[in-house]
């Protein structure tokens, strides 16, 4: 009842402010009149009566304020009033406002941009119905299961530690056994991929990423079709027609979003598939970072030629299983029952995968966490970046706090007047905080715009330079807006609090008297305290930017080190071209002929000096190792060596020097006795420097071919630049896909169209899977370092700039405040160099203190970067020194400008100001 009355009253107060105010004023004046009338009646003079009445009241305004404070809705009314006042104040100094808003926009924008990526990569939920009910099935055991093959597709983290193995690939029959548990799961699906499919029948042959899914896939996820129908259980049956469902984005890109795509026949790896549907638009992915172009029934794995996709083999571990819990069933109870079913299926068959002592277990992980995808690869850099932008925001806040402090000095008179009129300290603080928050909200609004642009650019950089193209959704959602609002409010209070507290301590009398003489002696003692806090804020900025500079410096030095690593071969002017004729139906006997033909045709292209091919590209992340036994080796055990199958002229094309013997030629590849070239590390490590030419080695299997070593190649890097040189054997390439390497005399990227045309001319069913230069490949491997170096470098520069502006501002303010003092000093005979020294010293002390603190903090935190560093220690003294020196240099300039202004102060002018 009472609260209802207060709501009505609050509405009246808010809606009829003017009437309420005039009424209040009239009421209090009437009171004063009545008191005065009493006193006149008691014999006082009218003038005296009024004066004493007013004096007893203690002022009309404080009483009115006391009434206002008790009124309903007073909070809202004062906030509104404060906001309007703040806007008026800020409009009066547009320069100040612009600088502050821009500084905050950069700080808040950087945070929002990185948070957008964090949100997209780490936080966004799976875009399907009720993702919280989905679980991913995960096994763990002391050892890997006994299997005929184990394939992972990056859906979840595989752990490969002796004694502690886990993963989520399973045999298809195990999936079927678990899918029968309708008492636990509403639905269960298995899938594998994505796998590259050669897609023909829609223009030129191209590569599509195909996801092999069980018939229950769309049903389990609750994903409907935007067009046609999703895949169903019937599509998975033996003998069912080959059908496919397109991803919405792929349909838009490659089929122009035409409804006519429905019912069309496309050829995937040379098998005809009918398009029966397009998945709905919202369904962009299941696992973060993994998007498919086309979905085909998992039973087609064999038809598509995937040897790993053996549906009936209970020992082939290759499908990922996701289930939707039956409603009412809790995860732990489903897990216990599913574990039993899993052990039954894997350990009690004809060929058990584990023994009882292996402690094999099945766990049900929530799909949101369990399907980690690229979250694992990007998680760490993103967390580091989040910390970095947090530091940038701190610098920005310290900077703005410094500006506000300096400004609050010029507002002392205004504050003094407000105190004299009866404003309370709390009220003044609230008003000043409103100003700060208004500033930070304006900064946030601009920051969101900057963040959107920044996040888009970052996402584009990430998706074109990462190991694998992945989509990042940077559309601002509610979480991002809330985050930005939170950051804005926190920073508004953060940088506004100190100036507000200081403002609320203004002494009215002293400041009022200041009116005429701007630097009256009375205020000197009061304002002398001020630089303390101001300097501390700049010290903080210097320290934080030293931390940023050190981090960025370490990464830049890492990149420089990596780029100066000797790869062992000439990495410049090489174009890499991936082809896989087996996907277009070539069999082993014809592949070699195609490669010879391609090698010849590509060699005759203009600008191409030499062409060869190999089973994989080097410095592209791929690696093939094999265990072999070497003839004449003292120990009887087999050894692990890196392997590469190569075509003719490989060493010449890569400019990988041969130190002894001969390279592999056409006859070795066609039909000669198996020959091999090994590298120096191979000789050093396995043969203790003995002459290897003529020795034989091969897999530890009697029937396998034994290669004869015919030459020694110089050591070179294989998978990535930061690897040690490891033993490597080069053997002839006889079958499978290949990467062609073209040594060009000009920029290699220029040859791309001609290469594509040549491959098409030779056989337009053979798709070029991808093309990139060797340098691009290397850059992709260094993606994390490059991303971090760029961003940290940018943020460090931003921090440096802000800190120097802060330093400049502090000294400028100091010079302005002490103009008269400088005048007196100069008049009394101080030299100009003394004045210059006075201020330079002051600036340098701040820089030194900040640098010392910054280096101290940096020593503690740079080890967080350790996993990204190469050839540089986290405590690299040179980098630490460099960061401090860089700051000292730029800081000196920031100090020199105001200090030289102080030097030029004309004493006569300064003293005349009085």
């Amino acid at each position: 009842m009472r609260s209802f009355a207060r709501v009505i009253a609050a509405l009246r107060n808010l809606l009829h402010t003017r009437k309420v105010e005039t009424d209040l004023d009239a009421e209090i004046r009437a009171y004063v009149d009545a008191v005065a009338a009493e006193r006149i009646a008691a014999g006082m003079t009218p003038e005296m009566a009024r004066r004493t009445a007013l004096a007893d009241l203690g002022g009309v305004e404080p009483v009115k304020q006391a009434v206002r404070d008790t009124r309903a809705g007073t909070g809202i009314a004062t906030i509104w009033q404060d906001m309007r006042f703040a806007l008026r104040i800020l409009r009066k100094s547009p320069g100040f406002t612009a600088v502050v808003v821009l500084t905050l926009a950069l700080g808040i924008g950087a945070n929002t941009a990185i948070f957008t990526l964090v949100n997209a990569v780490l936080l966004q939920t799976i875009p399907v119905n009720h993702p919280e009910d989905l679980v991913v099935l995960r096994w763990s055991a002391h050892k890997e299961p006994d299997s005929t093959g184990m394939s992972g597709f990056g859906d979840c983290t595989m752990r490969r530690k002796p004694g502690d193995e886990s993963g989520c690939s399973m045999p298809y029959p195990v999936y079927r056994a678990l899918a029968e548990r309708r008492d636990l799961f509403a639905d269960v699906t298995a899938f594998a991929g994505t796998a590259d499919l050669n897609l023909a029948g829609n223009g030129q042959a191209s590569i599509a990423r195909g996801e092999l899914v069980s018939g229950t896939y769309f049903g389990t996820l609750g994903v409907t079709a935007a067009l046609g129908r999703p895949l169903g259980s019937a599509d998975e049956q033996k003998g069912a027609a080959a059908v496919a469902v397109l991803d919405y984005g792929y349909w838009q890109r490659m089929f122009g979003g035409a409804p006519g795509a429905l019912g069309r026949t496309i050829r995937l790896n040379n098998v005809a598939f009918t398009i029966v549907g397009v998945a709905n638009r919202e369904f962009t992915r299941l696992t973060p970072g993994k998007s498919a172009d086309v979905y085909v029934p998992i039973s087609q794995a064999k038809t598509l030629g995937f040897r790993w996709g053996a549906i009936d083999d209970p020992q082939a571990w290759w499908v990922t299983v996701v289930a939707r819990l039956k409603s009412g069933i809790k995860r732990p109870e489903a897990e216990a029952a599913a574990n039993l079913a899993f052990r039954n299926a894997t350990m009690h068959g004809a060929k058990p995968a584990w023994k009882d002592t292996d402690d094999a277990r099945l766990t049900l992980a929530p799909a949101q966490d369990g399907l980690s995808g690229f979250r694992r690869a990007l998680g760490e850099p993103l967390r580091l970046l989040m910390a970095a932008v947090g530091i940038v925001l701190l610098i920005a806040c310290a900077n703005v706090a410094g500006l506000l402090l300096a400004r609050s000095t010029s507002r002392e008179r205004e504050l003094a007047v407000r105190f004299a009129l009866g404003a309370s300290r709390r009220r003044v603080m609230q008003q000043m905080l409103t100003e700060s928050i208004l500033l930070s909200l304006a900064g946030a609004a601009l920051g969101i715009v900057l963040a959107y642009a920044g996040a888009s650019a970052l996402a584009a950089f990430a998706s074109t330079n990462g190991d694998q193209a992945f989509p990042i959704d940077v559309t601002p959602d509610l979480r991002i807006l809330l985050f930005t609002m939170g950051v804005a409010l926190a920073s508004g209070v953060g940088f506004g609090l100190a100036p507000a507290i200081r403002g609320s301590r203004t002494r009215s009398a002293a400041e009022m008297s200041r009116g005429a003489t701007e630097s009256a002696p009375a205020t000197l003692s009061a304002s002398r305290r001020r630089p303390g806090l101001g300097s501390a804020l700049v010290v903080l900025q210097v320290a934080l930017s030293i931390v940023m500079l050190t981090g960025a410096g370490l990464l830049l030095r890492t990149l420089a080190k990596l780029h100066s690593v000797d790869a062992g071969f000439d990495t410049r002017n090489v174009l890499l071209v991936w082809v896989n004729p087996e996907l277009a139906g070539y069999d082993k006997t014809h592949v070699l002929g195609l490669y010879e033909n391609l090698q010849q045709r590509l060699s005759s292209l203009p600008g191409v000096m030499s062409v060869s091919y190999s089973s994989g590209a080097v410095l592209d992340g791929g690696l093939w190792t094999s265990s072999v036994k070497i003839e004449g080796q003292t120990s009887k055990q087999s050894v692990e060596t890196q392997m590469m199958r190569v075509g003719p002229r490989y060493f010449e094309t890569m400019r990988l020097p041969l130190l002894r013997g001969r390279p592999l030629g056409l006859t070795d590849i066609r039909n000669g006795p198996p020959a091999a070239v090994v590298n120096q590390a191979f000789v050093r490590k396995f043969l203790e420097g003995r002459d290897p030419v003529g020795l034989h080695f091969g897999p530890d299997d009697k029937d396998a071919p034994k290669w004869t070593i015919v030459g020694i190649a110089q050591d070179s890097k294989y998978a990535s630049l930061d690897d040690e040189n490891a033993p490597t054997a080069y053997v002839p390439l006889a079958t499978g896909g290949a990467t062609f390497a073209l040594r060009t005399s000009t920029a290699p990227a220029a040859s791309i169209p001609a290469v594509r045309k040549t491959v098409q001319d030779v056989d337009d069913n053979v798709p070029v899977m991808q093309m990139r230069t060797q340098s691009e490949s290397i850059d992709r491997q260094l993606f994390n370092q490059r991303l971090m170096a760029r961003l940290l470098g940018g943020f460090a520069a931003l921090g440096l700039g802000l800190a120097c502006i802060g330093l400049y501002g502090l000294l400028s303010y100091e010079v302005a405040r002490r103009t008269r003092e400088i005048g007196v000093r100069t008049a009394l005979g101080a030299k100009r160099s003394d004045v210059l020294g006075l201020f330079l010293r002051r600036g340098l002390i701040v820089v030194l203190l900040g640098s010392a603190a910054g280096i101290g903090v940096a020593v503690g935190v740079t080890r967080l970067l350790a996993s990204l560093l190469y050839g540089v220690k986290a405590l690299d003294p040179l980098t630490f020194f460099g960061a401090a020196a860089l700051f000292a240099l730029v800081g000196l300039v920031a100090c020199l400008l105001p200090a030289s202004r102080a030097m030029r102060v004309d004493p006569a002018e300064a003293l005349r100001c009085e």
Binding site: R2, A5, I28, A37, A66, V67, D69, R71
Partner: protein, 109 residues
């Protein structure tokens, strides 16, 4: 005026005002004088406490106000107790008697 006179016990001001207004119509100064009178000069309510309390109680619905003519023919804002105000007198009187009784026996003990 000593400090003790102005420091009204927390919560007693509302009751005093409601009591002072009684069933008649009064303006601010009248209420102040009436309180002084009925408490035999123990409580002198200053405008800085009186007006906020009047406005708060009006918003709570215990008092209503209207503009009228004062004794010396000036416009003044008059307050009158509402039905809710009367009920509040009973509630607060009861509360006060409980506290006063409790304090009295506590001091006697």
């Amino acid at each position: 005026m000593t400090q003790s006179q102005t420091n009204l016990l927390q919560g007693t001001l509302d009751l005093l005002i409601l009591k002072a207004v009684g069933d008649v119509e009064m303006h601010g100064l009248g209420i102040s004088r009436r309180i002084e009178h009925i408490t035999e000069g123990t409580f002198q309510v200053k405008p800085g406490s009186l007006f906020p309390a009047l406005h708060r109680m009006e918003e709570a619905g215990w008092l209503t106000s209207f503009w009228g003519e004062s004794e010396n023919n000036r416009r003044a804002k008059y307050y009158r107790r509402t039905k809710a105000g009367e009920r509040q007198v009973h509630v607060e009187t009861k509360q006060w008697n409980t506290i006063a009784g409790a304090m009295a026996s506590a001091l006697k003990a």
